[in-house]
């Protein structure tokens, strides 16, 4: 068990988490600038499964990831499996104006398998000589996924990996992630606004709006039910009509 709390962990319990679980979160709370951003969030993620985190803007999705990465103080407990190796794919990069080649970026990991990782996300090795700042949104996200999987992580955390990516380029990225999950047994935690992606590529859903709106099997819900949980029934019906058209 790996307890990654930042000194504000309420429980100091060191009981083992079940070996088939990759992550157990209980009673997680986050306060930012005197406002409660997350309240009493509890869920588990089984090894080799995928969990989609959904919710309205400001609902606490990215805050949850930041707590999972131990970037911010929180209350409650976050317990990762002992064998956890986290690969993180951010929504975007803060600085891409640095004159840095894709090859130089990947070399930071000191692994020799980066060409194979590029190939597994559908990129040709010619991209190695391109500057990180010159890549399209889709190419950059794939490079970030390749960077994350170079170390053979057991968990991939993807924070809206296709934001800023052309609509046509979204699907192949999720296909690659799904492939990695199936072939390498990687556990996937994914933030997405795209309900189609959530319904197709996740095994479980965690709907957040400060507290947990829904947590369970994706297959137990229809697209419309999920929208209704997140945004209310009126919005869901409008969306359903839209899909029928």
């Amino acid at each position: 068990m790996t307890d990654v709390g930042r000194g504000q962990t309420e429980s100091s319990s060191h009981s083992q988490i079940e070996s088939n679980n990759m992550l157990v979160v209980s009673g997680l709370g986050v306060t930012s600038q005197n406002k409660r951003v997350l309240e009493d969030v509890s869920f588990k993620v089984k090894k080799g499964t995928s969990l989609a985190v959904v919710g309205p803007n400001g609902g606490g999705k990215t805050t949850l990831f930041r707590a999972l990465l131990n970037l911010i103080p929180y209350t409650g407990t976050i317990k990762w499996n002992d064998e956890v190796r986290i690969g993180y794919v951010p929504q975007s990069l803060v600085s891409t104006d640095l004159p840095i080649l894709v090859e130089e970026f990947l070399r930071f990991k000191r692994r020799t398998n980066y060409e194979a990782c590029l190939s597994s996300v559908g990129l040709d090795k010619a991209i190695l000589r391109q500057s990180l700042g010159s890549l399209s949104g889709g190419e950059l996200q794939r490079v970030l996924i390749a960077w994350a999987i170079v170390d053979n992580p057991s968990v991939l955390l993807l924070d809206e990996p296709t934001s800023g990516v052309d609509i046509g380029a979204e699907e192949p990225i999720y296909e690659k992630v799904n492939h990695l999950k199936r072939e390498a047994g990687i556990t996937v935690l994914l933030i997405s606004h795209n309900m189609h992606v959530v319904m197709h590529y996740s095994d479980y859903v965690l709907a957040l709006n400060k507290d947990v709106l829904f947590y369970g099997d994706t297959k137990s819900l229809t697209h419309s039910q999920l929208l209704s949980i997140i945004f209310g029934s009126e919005f869901a019906l409008t969306e359903e009509e839209h899909y029928k058209e």
């Binding site: 004159p99 840095i100 930071f108």
Partner: protein, 268 residues
């Protein structure tokens, strides 16, 4: 100026120039160029205390710079203020105190440096400190770059971003402190920024960028020192002028290569 002093000045120029340029490549990329410039002025009160109480001004300058770095780092962590805002406040205060307490006769030397007063001990300290700074930067370079690209990415890779940033700023403070004797407090910041800005204009790889920054820093510092003998003015302003000429050249090269690329693309 005798040959020995000139040689010492050139040695100091080689080490301070290249180290400041190398450090600057990170500062310019972090969009903290003004921080490097403002930070250098903070050394003035420490330098003045060294002159007034007859101890090595390097120690006084470094103490003030290191304290500023630690206070800035702490305030940045514990408030919502940006580094630029915090250093901006401390910088004007330090410059004011420095100008008030520096003896008038030494003020010009403190502000613009005096290469003719560099001693063998100064040179040895500069060489050792520069080598130490380069070694530490090389050790943390990749972590700094990853933290710069994305803090979340760095933390997920178990990089202690805050600590690495503090070490980096302390290294900048160190090289600024040793560069003061040659370039002066008012202009030493330029030695960190200008060569790196020039290198960024013409670099397409990270390794090329850091190497060019170091080379441009070295060229500016050494040329400034040599020119100062012929025109009989302090080396500091000349170092900055040479650096700016290199920068102008890099802008011209950058714009020329862009034009060539556009022409090739339109004919293809």
């Amino acid at each position: 100026m005798d040959t020995i002093t000139l040689t010492l000045g050139i040695i100091v120029g080689v080490f301070v120039g290249s180290t400041a340029g190398y450090l600057g490549s990170i500062m310019v990329s972090r969009r903290m160029a003004l921080v490097g410039d403002a930070l250098s002025h903070v050394a003035l009160p420490g330098l003045a205390l060294g002159i007034l109480f007859n101890f090595n001004p390097f120690i006084g300058a470094f103490s003030f710079l290191a304290t500023t770095v630690i206070v800035t780092w702490y305030l940045q962590k514990s408030t919502t203020l940006s580094v630029e805002a915090i250093i901006g406040v401390i910088f004007v205060l330090a410059l004011s105190i420095g100008i008030l307490i520096t003896p008038k006769v030494d003020l010009l030397e403190a502000l613009f440096g005096d290469i003719s007063k560099i001693t063998l001990m100064d040179t040895v300290i500069t060489v050792l400190v520069s080598l130490f700074v380069i070694l530490v930067v090389k050790k943390i370079y990749e972590k700094l770059i990853i933290g710069m690209i994305s803090k979340e990415l760095a933390v997920a890779n178990r990089i202690k971003v805050e600590s690495i940033n503090l070490i980096y700023l302390l290294l900048v403070a160190t090289i600024v402190a040793v560069g003061i004797k040659e370039v002066g407090t008012l202009l030493v910041g330029a030695l960190v920024i200008v060569p790196a800005a020039a290198a960024k204009n013409i670099s397409s790889t990270l390794s090329g960028y850091s190497l060019m920054s170091a080379i441009f820093g070295l060229m500016s510092a050494v040329s400034g020192v040599i020119l100062s003998i012929y025109v009989n003015v302090p080396a500091g302003p000349l170092v900055v002028i040479v650096g700016t000429v290199i920068f102008a050249g890099s802008v011209a090269i950058n714009s020329f290569s862009k034009r060539v690329k556009t022409k090739r693309a339109s004919t293809a």
